[in-house]
Symmetry: C2
Subunit: 327 residues, 2 copies
Amino acid sequence: MAGGRLGEFEFIARLLRPLASAVAGAEGLGDDTAHLTPPAGHEIVVTTDALVCGVHFLAHHPPDLIARKALRVNVSDLAAAAARPWTYQLALALSDDIDDAWLTAFCDGLALDQRAFGIDLTGGDTVSTPGPLTIAVTALGLVPTGRSLGRAGARVGDAVFVSGMIGDGALGLRASKGELAGANGDDVAALAARYLLPQPRAALGPRLRDFAHACMDVSDGLIGDLGHICARSAVAAVVDVARVPLSEPARRAIERDARLLELAITGGDDYELLFTAPASVRDALVALSKDVGVPITEIGRIEAGEGVRAMRGCNPMTLERPSYRHR
Amino acid sequence: MAGGRLGEFEFIARLLRPLASAVAGAEGLGDDTAHLTPPAGHEIVVTTDALVCGVHFLAHHPPDLIARKALRVNVSDLAAAAARPWTYQLALALSDDIDDAWLTAFCDGLALDQRAFGIDLTGGDTVSTPGPLTIAVTALGLVPTGRSLGRAGARVGDAVFVSGMIGDGALGLRASKGELAGANGDDVAALAARYLLPQPRAALGPRLRDFAHACMDVSDGLIGDLGHICARSAVAAVVDVARVPLSEPARRAIERDARLLELAITGGDDYELLFTAPASVRDALVALSKDVGVPITEIGRIEAGEGVRAMRGCNPMTLERPSYRHR
């Protein structure tokens, strides 16, 4: 199956070096280290995400999409911190079946999303593994000092907002496995694409500095992640499930099988921004939504107490599994 | 074999959070991101190393030593850049056989070396893998702006120096596998310990700013790594093999089997600092060596041309494999 593979040094020289050409301190990956100076008045935001073949993606997925997903889940974390992408380090543990064609397509995917999100490779490590392909990205972002957002800071009386559409990630995983019974081909393709290639809200995140009290990205599921905000902020939240924004393919899937609604609001991999802000900024958020071209929907409110209640009208919704846990 | 394992959130709360307590911007790992501000007048040095079970360490190795090695190989890269350790991100892909006792010992090892090297955890990611345990560390160091060292910069006329002892890493790997024929128990233990737990020259590295033109750490083998300096600096190097510093256990192993000399100077995992400096700083380096308690040995010189010649007296030594390649 393997069509031959470049040695480590050739891989770096031919495929990785062009990805690092824009960064002065990376010296074209000629050193074991890169040196970087954040612009004055900025702090660094740092995040790490690891992806394992068979767990976070499948062996037959296109290598360029795997690369872009590995980068995008980190860009999403930076966006949630209101930071703009800056640089990243790439640790690759390559399995035997990875050949030059795969590596080339993988690096093409990185190049594409480096341009899309304004982030550059500064270094990393490439090793062999007898196990599945494993990718760990550590990304650095920049934010004006003291202006980053996080899970803490939600206040009683805040409204809860979410960007984009919720549930496409979890439904898309089902769709990509052929497990979405009754869905038409277009819906399967649309949902699977959303799972394969998330859309991190890189433009929206830094704009939320002026509005949001707390922010995170939805990676473990809407309800569970809102629970993280509540725990860190020492508040409770109520979500009006009927207001949770669903894509048309997701809505159709849930109409066919009502149990999928719970999956949509508790499944992971949406990479939308979930944030709390004073209700008084509603109008400003409508304008911001138009400006960045990303829907923003109010789905609930912050109260005193602890935990998250999902409500359908006046009735609490009992959830079997409030949050997907990646293990 | 597995004695049960904490969930991801419990693992973070109980074992990882204490490792991040010293960093204000890490918020006790309560967020997906950490925010960091380098002190004024400093730039950040960043490096990544990945270790795979069965490739870079073995399953029966003590978990605390595996943790410390994962941290130390990165600290060594920072030292080679003349940077002092600052923070790190940890990506862990855990195999099924990893239980709580293993994780606890692993984190104890991290805690020990965090104190030893003045570095703190700021975040990371923990995932499951059906394959071998895989550890990727991205470490950040600090260096006064414009004062970092790298592979480029060696000048014709420089002397070549190395810290500590060379060859213990590669001979130690042999020893730890029981493949060092004729060695006594003490020598096997001493060499294996050097392989299992390298001694990064964290105190020496930043002190070399005042002397060295080029610097790197010996991870792929002395001759091969000197070749990297030559390539990046567009110079050649000559090494007097008789002057390469060997530990007593290494010397005895080579006396029994002369072929091991080549392994010593081309094998990897020494994590000593290899640097070039004007011959005029010899005396200052003697004083520095005493001050930091690390031997510094002059082993060769930089010339015009390209490549590395290993000389035994007046005779060039032909090397079968100039450098170990990690793949």
